[in-house]
């Protein structure tokens, strides 16, 4: 199955550089733009498809619709002022930015984060991962015309946003993990309310299993489609669930544990087929892991303790010259912040490493030829990419 080789005989030949010679004048080919405004697109980007009948012969990914210049903005802000903007880099799972940035600053400034805060950070990250998967499970159904999954998952996500709201004071951009620790403690009765959300989620996920994973239409359209050859994982920088769906049990939570993951019991979900279906099942497994982890964290985390380490006065916080790379396993794979400091009060350079960059651009371009037009949306969603994080 991994030797997926589309029958290219009907398509134009590639030249020596591997480029296709497509002559639109022949009328045999058509350019079709999927996005930037398209329900099957995972955000503001577009794929320029060249189709021949309903077969896609070539797909070019285009980004740039969402460039906000975050990395440059960060260079013009003090270390504390960067904190409110990092979450905006990635809308659906903002907390990873907060964590990676905070941890990078703490690493270079030599700050030890209190234990309570590390547990709280883990909790927040798992809640964020849960929400990100809600968007995936809703989106993958939607891409294949199964609209109801989107409605259910949005509802469940909304319940989790309520928990975010009461814990962090905001629904989307939580701005809760800041250099030095976290901004507060659990509100009273939080565990019980969280349990309600998790059990509701489990009920709806049962239904997802029935309506989607046990659905012959869904299976037919996703099995064997969009297969990524595991040999491509290394050269294309494929990480996270996309890799795990191809049998490579890569997960930074296990491979290089950060925060309190080494104190938590969990298994990494994997699959073997490396197709759209396999990627969806891995995420279905992962969301259950997140639910279990949230329960575990709430059970195991200290009841009290300082939320913040002692940090220098943030108004003129200078960090000695240095560089560091902080990574973590987000819902899409390896997410990381590379921070360079030069002894001044401003970051010299911050580079955000998001998994979407490789997955949504090079990898997608590679996977598209030979697919059916109607599968492009599902293929794209199955890679679980967030264009805001590509463009920073």
């Amino acid at each position: 199955m991994f030797n997926f080789k589309p029958d290219r005989t009907q398509y134009p030949a590639a030249d020596a550089d591997g480029k296709l010679e497509i002559d639109l004048e022949t009328g045999k080919y058509l350019k079709l733009w999927q996005g930037p405004n398209h329900p099957g697109i995972t955000g503001n980007m577009s794929v320029e498809l060249t189709v021949c009948g309903d077969e896609v012969v070539e797909g070019k990914t285009h980004v740039g619709y969402l460039h906000r210049g975050f990395e440059k903005l960060m260079e013009r802000r003090t270390f504390i002022q960067v904190f409110p903007i990092v979450c905006r880099v990635c809308v659906p799972e903002p907390d990873f930015n907060e964590y990676c940035y905070a941890a990078a600053v703490e690493d270079l400034a030599g700050i030890e984060v209190p234990e309570y805060a590390t547990w709280m950070r883990t909790l927040i990250l798992e809640m964020g991962r849960f929400n990100s998967y809600m968007m995936f499970l809703g989106g993958i159904g939607g891409a294949l015309g199964l609209g109801i999954t989107g409605q259910w998952m949005t509802y469940v996500r909304d319940l989790m946003l309520d928990r975010f709201e009461e814990l962090t004071g905001a629904r989307i951009y939580h701005m809760f993990i800041l250099p030095g620790g976290v901004r507060g403690h659990l509100p009273e009765g939080f565990e019980a309310r969280m349990e309600e959300v998790l059990s509701t989620a489990e009920r709806y996920l049962d239904d997802i299993d029935k309506v989607m994973f046990s659905n012959s239409v869904f299976k037919t359209r996703t099995k064997g489609v969009g297969v990524i050859d595991p040999k491509l994982f290394e050269p294309y920088g494929v990480t996270g669930p996309n890799a795990r769906a191809g049998g490579v049990a890569k997960d930074l939570r296990k491979d290089s544990p950060y925060l309190v993951y080494d104190q938590l019991d969990f298994e990494v979900a994997t699959a073997t087929d490396s197709d759209i279906f396999a990627r969806a099942t891995v995420r279905r497994g992962d969301v259950q892991t997140s639910i279990d982890l949230i329960r575990q964290i709430l059970r195991k985390m200290p009841k009290d303790g300082p939320a913040m380490a002692r940090i220098p006065n943030v108004l003129h916080w200078k960090i000695p010259r240095g560089e560091t790379y902080i990574k973590g396993e987000c819902s899409r794979g390896e997410y990381g912040y590379y921070l360079v400091t030069d002894g001044t009060g401003y970051p010299r350079r911050i580079n955000v490493r998001g998994p979407s960059y490789t997955h949504a651009m090079a990898l997608l371009e590679h996977l598209i030829p030979g697919t059916n037009i109607s599968d492009v949306a599902a293929l794209m969603v199955s890679l679980h990419t967030y264009p805001p994080e590509i463009e920073r």
Binding site: F83, P84, E165, G169, V314, L315
Partner: protein, 598 residues
């Protein structure tokens, strides 16, 4: 794939009977208790420090004047105005707020047709002004340091037997940590009489650029080494950091800068005075006001001669403040820099005795009178006349001059100001040296909370064994048949001020005490010795309730004569320094004007 997978999906039709989960009308849905909604600001506790404005990464906050809120010590009178077109709701402004006045409600819907409405000053009229819910930071602020870095001091049992300096001064590491706490709001600059650039020199400490720090100090204060030790540091009473913690140790940081720059380097940094102008100015009194004026005038190229009646320059800095607070070498270095500017200080030269005012008027282009308050007042209660009753300023002067002063085993001090503490602690040291124990009783009209002395003076006096009896009104110095002092009789002060805050002492005559001691030292008020003016000039000058009348620019009613310092304004070194600068400015302006006239 079988029939099961075709049918299973249909089982979810059960949801057809679910209640809809959509909120039909989201307007009015209450947000969580912690929600970061619209801002609130407690106008009364806000001090307008602008730290919120400084931290806001969107520049959404502007500090603006607000009707009904006045500028006062420790309050800029400005209040934050927030632009919701820019705000990103991060609440760093709430977290960094120095007083905790800025919070957020959990209100999040606001409809208005006027776009300008969303740029508003929270705390005035908005409907959510007094809402209880909403984001507040947990506990005290964590984004800037709360606790002052401890200053090492000689312990009481060590320091009481000598006159060595008590305070160690910060190490570099300590100073950096203390300087780090400053939020650079600048409220202190407005409070400092000399308007020293405090946040700037504190920044120099953080940057470890002591040369820059010293240059900043000398822009406003040639007595930084002195002030770094004995300034009354009113700046620290307006420091934004004091609201949820300790004020920044501004005085110690100033001292730290001077301590870190060797004297020769100091001279290098200050450089040479301007080319001589040929003008000459006489200054009477080598205290902080006179010498500051001398420094400024000399730097501008004017010839300056300072006339000092006593044997050394420094005035009250030398003859009033004891050595354990201000070592003479520290003072000598500050004066050394001033002399290096070409200022001539003629000591042991008393105007009125060794040189007349008329001669000064004749020989110099201008004369500045900076004579200070060097005569002690007496309570004049019965028994104060005669031996055994001393005035604090006289004794302090004699101690500085190395004269033998009478040191009894037990003595009583009258007064609750810094001079009273100075003499009590000086005498305590002498007693320790002579008898091995301290026997000083201090009585004052004021209750302890209204003592004019600095807090630390009171604390340290007590540590050194000075017994303080507050709210005691002296009635009589008790003497035995031979006329020798045996103690001080006092009544308890029931109240010292009336309802309007005016001095109107009421005594409880039933609560009488005799404080034993064979010496009584009066350390109440002080006055200027204006006898050097002699009768003709005294008559010619305009007076203002006992002090020479000066205008806002320190001119007296005589065009050639200027006056500054404690004798006309008071009451401390930093005020005298500020006066010195201003009178020098006026004199320079006058000299320049005369240049034009000729």
């Amino acid at each position: 794939m079988g029939l099961r997978e075709v049918l299973t999906p249909f089982t979810v039709w059960k949801h057809v009977f679910d209640e809809p989960v959509t909120i039909k009308n989201p307007i009015g849905r209450p947000a969580a208790d912690r929600y970061r909604g619209f801002h609130q600001n407690d106008m009364a506790s806000c001090i307008g420090c602008g730290t919120c404005e400084a931290i806001c990464q969107n520049a959404a906050i502007d500090m603006v004047p607000v009707d009904g809120i006045e500028t006062r010590t420790g309050d800029s009178g400005l209040r934050p105005q927030i632009d919701y077109g820019r705000c990103c709701w991060c609440a760093l402004c709430v977290d960094v707020c120095m007083t905790g006045s800025l919070t957020m409600s959990n209100e999040y819907t606001w409809v208005d047709t006027d776009p300008d409405a969303f740029r508003f000053v929270p705390g005035l009229e908005e409907p959510w002004k007094d809402d209880e819910e909403g984001y507040e930071r947990e506990g005290k602020r964590v984004l800037s340091g709360i606790e002052r870095i401890h200053m090492e001091e000689m312990p009481p049992e060590t320091r009481i037997s000598n006159f060595e300096e008590i305070v160690d001064g910060y190490s570099r590491a300590e100073a950096i940590l203390e300087a780090d706490r400053c939020v650079e709001c600048g409220l202190c600059v407005a409070t400092c009489p000399a308007h020293m650039s405090i946040p700037d020199y504190i920044a120099a400490v953080r940057d470890q650029d002591y040369d820059r720090g010293l240059e900043i100090l000398y822009e406003t204060n040639p007595f930084s080494e002195v002030c770094g030790r004995v300034c009354t540091h009113k700046c620290e009473t307006s420091c934004a950091a004091l609201h949820e913690g300790d004020p920044i140790a501004i005085r110690w940081l100033k001292r730290h800068i001077v301590d870190e720059v060797p004297f020769d380097r100091r001279l290098e940094l200050i450089g040479k005075p301007a080319a001589p102008t040929g003008r000459k100015v006489a200054i009477i009194g080598a205290g902080p006001a006179g010498l500051t004026a001398a420094f400024d005038l000399a730097r501008a190229g004017h010839g300056v001669v300072v006339f000092e009646a006593l044997s050394h320059a420094g005035g009250m800095m030398r003859y009033g403040i004891p050595e354990y607070r201000l070592p003479y070498e520290a003072l000598d270095r500050d004066i050394g820099v001033i002399e290096a500017m070409g200022v001539e200080i003629r000591t042991n030269c008393r105007v009125g005795r060794d040189v007349t005012m008329d001669a000064l008027r004749r020989d110099y282009d201008s004369v500045i009178l900076a004579i200070g308050l060097n005569m002690g007042r007496s309570t004049r209660v019965p028994g104060t006349e005669g031996p055994g009753v001393e005035k604090a300023v006289d004794l302090l002067r004699r101690i500085t001059d190395g004269e033998e002063v009478p040191v009894p085993e037990r003595l009583v001090v009258i007064g609750g100001g810094n001079v009273a503490m100075d003499i009590a602690r000086s005498m305590a040291r002498l007693q320790m040296q002579k008898y091995g124990r301290v026997g000083v009783t201090l009585t004052a009209l004021e209750d302890i909370d209204h003592f004019l002395a600095d807090r630390e003076e009171i604390v340290e006096s007590r540590e050194e064994g000075v017994q303080i009896f507050d709210a005691r009104g002296p009635q009589e110095v008790v003497r035995d048949e031979s006329g020798a002092v045996t103690g001080l009789r006092t009544w308890r002060v029931k109240s010292i001020f009336d309802a309007d805050g005016r001095f109107a002492p009421a005594y409880d005559e039933g609560d009488e005490q005799i404080h034993e001691g064979t010496m009584v030292i009066e350390a109440i008020g002080q006055m200027a010795d204006t006898s050097l003016l002699e009768e003709a000039l005294t008559e010619a000058l305009e007076w203002n309730r006992g002090r020479i009348r000066i205008d806002g620019a320190f001119r007296t009613s005589e065009p050639w004569l200027f006056a500054a310092g404690d004798a006309v304004k008071g009451p401390d070194v930093i005020n005298a320094v500020a006066d010195g600068h201003r009178v020098a400015r006026t004199v320079m302006d006058e000299l320049a004007a005369r240049e034009v006239m000729q």
